[in-house]
């Protein structure tokens, strides 16, 4: 499938919800609404022409007014790679994709802990990287202040 065909497949299934965005290093990237992320991911994995079986990476970016979750998917059968983005408010809640790819389990734990959002229906919502008794807030947020943290001065 070409780049256009991949995008078309998603657009046909989820009409009006897919918005293409620029992204270097992947075949195609698009944004979806937070409510349909679980359906889009399931469609991406279970449709045989797409079959994105590898969740290569999953991460979050803080834009102060919102959080963006980025899924990097890859298909071993068809050698496509795409990126899916979804936006949610800080302190928001997004659907966990762990039922689709088990790999998301640890990634989601990491994101939830460092960015302070929640994943709905996550099987094991414990912190992962920070100490057990951590009370310093959500360190990956842009406005985080820590005792020993010195920000690079603005020019």
């Amino acid at each position: 499938m070409t780049k256009e065909q991949i995008l078309q497949a998603f657009q046909n299934k989820f009409q009006g919800k897919i918005e293409e965005i620029p992204f270097v290093g992947v075949d195609v990237a698009f944004k979806v609404e937070k409510d349909s992320i679980l359906k889009v991911c399931r469609f991406a994995k279970e449709t045989s022409e797409l079959s994105f079986d590898l969740l290569a990476s999953m991460t979050c970016v803080d834009y102060i007014d919102r959080l963006e979750i980025v899924y990097n998917l890859f298909s071993f059968t068809h050698r496509h790679k795409i990126a899916i983005k979804t936006t949610l408010p800080r302190d928001g809640e997004s659907d966990s994709v762990t039922p689709i790819w088990n790999a998301a389990n640890w990634h989601e734990r990491e994101i939830a802990e460092l960015f302070g959002m929640k994943f709905k229906n996550h099987p094991d919502p414990r912190p992962i990287l920070l100490p057990e008794d951590w009370e310093g807030g959500f360190p990956m947020r842009k406005d985080w202040e820590g005792k020993d943290f010195v920000r690079l001065p603005k020019k």
């Binding site: 969740l55 803080d62 790819w101």
Partner: protein, 408 residues
């Protein structure tokens, strides 16, 4: 020291029997991770099931990793890995440094394959800014990457054999690794954390003696792999400990995003250097070794053969390296255009990805480090159920997990 506040040392806070007067056998909350009935097991004591804590400091965890095991007699019922002891917040540091200042930090992601981490990060920036790398620099990068791959696999092989109780391979492996480190030291002054690659090339040219010495190493190394194989591959004790142990089905591996040699051992022929050639890997001839049974022995065999293939690539690159520039001229203040990029390279342990969000500034807005060990460790509980503790040590070692790579 007498006025040092009490409870300052973590050991003071460790739950003891005195913490609550009523239930002396109540385990700490952490043990409840292993299932709701973990309490009951410890209190009643009637069952054979019990909980074993392994780590954080344990010789076989190759770093600081804690494993909580629920045992039925000698058999592992369940396992929970507890990570994060080496979390250095590299992603946060990246947001507070310029792009070029972050290159030395990439060495520390996976200190055993620092060259490949350097390479991946520089490649992501080059892709974002559309910078071409000179031919000679690409060759140097490939030579360094592959030498580093051999060095990393040697560390793995040595410690893997050590975990099995064989001490000799460890000494042999470090003997060869020393020669590779000498080559690195000669080139960039460092033996482990190189900070060698730059956006648009490498920091300095190869010294004059490098190519003859590297060629000498390639010839020297070829029979050495046979030597390791002679000690291990058909050794009955080794076979007994590894053949059929810790099988990882291909479906589970993909589900957990396991990549690299662990995935190839399941029989899937997938190597980014071949299937999605970056740098100049498409110019070299090499094979992708794969396994069939996906057991510990296959993972061992894949890495052994990968060392031979890496050596082959180094040999070809050394024979065809052109003269010329080693670095494209880039402005002293590096500012990539605004945009987002995801670039992945084949690290020794699997797919190493760099996701960078740039706002057109000298400082990255966000850097995500996708490391192979993070996903490779997550699959461990699936592999050890039903095996014994002694097998856990072998299975864990065969995954080739590096803890700084997990915790970042």
């Amino acid at each position: 020291m007498s006025d040092y506040p009490k409870n300052k040392f973590p050991i003071d806070e460790f739950p003891t029997d005195e913490t609550d007067g009523t239930d002396k056998n109540k385990p700490s909350n952490l043990f409840n991770l292993l299932g709701k009935d973990a309490d009951t097991i410890a209190v009643t004591g009637g069952s054979e099931e019990f909980i074993v804590n392994m780590g954080p400091q344990h010789p076989s965890t190759h770093g600081v990793c804690r494993l909580l095991l629920r045992m039925d007699g000698e058999v592992i019922v369940d396992l929970v890995p507890i990570v994060g002891y080496l979390h250095r917040a590299l992603e946060k540091i990246a947001e507070n440094r310029t792009y070029l200042q972050f290159i030395p930090y990439t060495d520390r992601i996976d200190y055993v394959t620092a060259m490949i981490c350097n390479h991946g990060f520089c490649m992501a920036l080059e892709k974002l800014a559309g910078i071409q790398v000179p031919e000679r620099a690409e060759y140097i990068r490939v030579i360094m990457d592959e030498l580093n791959r051999i060095a990393s696999h040697l560390i793995w092989l040595g410690t893997f054999a050590l975990d099995l109780g064989a001490i000799t391979p460890f000494l042999y492996c470090f003997r060869e690794r020393e020669k590779i480190l000498d080559l690195f030291e000669m080139t960039c002054g460092q033996r482990m954390t190189f900070n060698y690659m730059r956006v648009g090339g490498v920091s300095r040219d190869l010294p004059e003696q490098f190519i003859p010495l590297a060629k000498e190493f390639v010839e020297y190394f070829k029979p050495r792999v046979d030597e390791y194989e002679y000690i291990l591959t058909q050794n009955p004790i080794f076979l007994g400990r590894t053949k059929g142990v810790g099988i990882l089905p291909q479906k589970t591996a993909i589900d957990y995003s396991v990549t690299g040699p662990n995935l190839r051992a399941t029989g899937l022929k997938w190597d980014l250097r071949k299937e999605e050639p970056y740098s100049i890997y498409d110019r070299f001839e090499f094979d992708i070794p794969t396994g069939t049974n996906s057991d510990t022995w296959d993972r061992y065999m894949v890495r052994i053969q990968e060392m031979r293939q890496a050596n082959r690539i180094v040999e070809q690159a050394l024979n065809s390296i052109p003269e010329g520039e080693i670095k494209t001229k880039t402005p002293a203040v590096f500012k990539p255009p605004a945009g987002e990029v995801y670039v992945r390279v084949e690290s020794t342990r699997g797919e190493m990805g760099f996701f960078i969000v740039s706002k057109g500034d000298t400082i990255p807005y966000r850097v995500k480090l996708r490391t192979a060990s993070f996903s490779n460790l997550a699959v461990l509980p699936e592999m050890v159920r039903g095996w014994k503790i002694a097998d856990l040590v072998v299975i864990f070692a065969s995954l080739d997990v590096i803890m700084p790579d997990v915790d970042r």
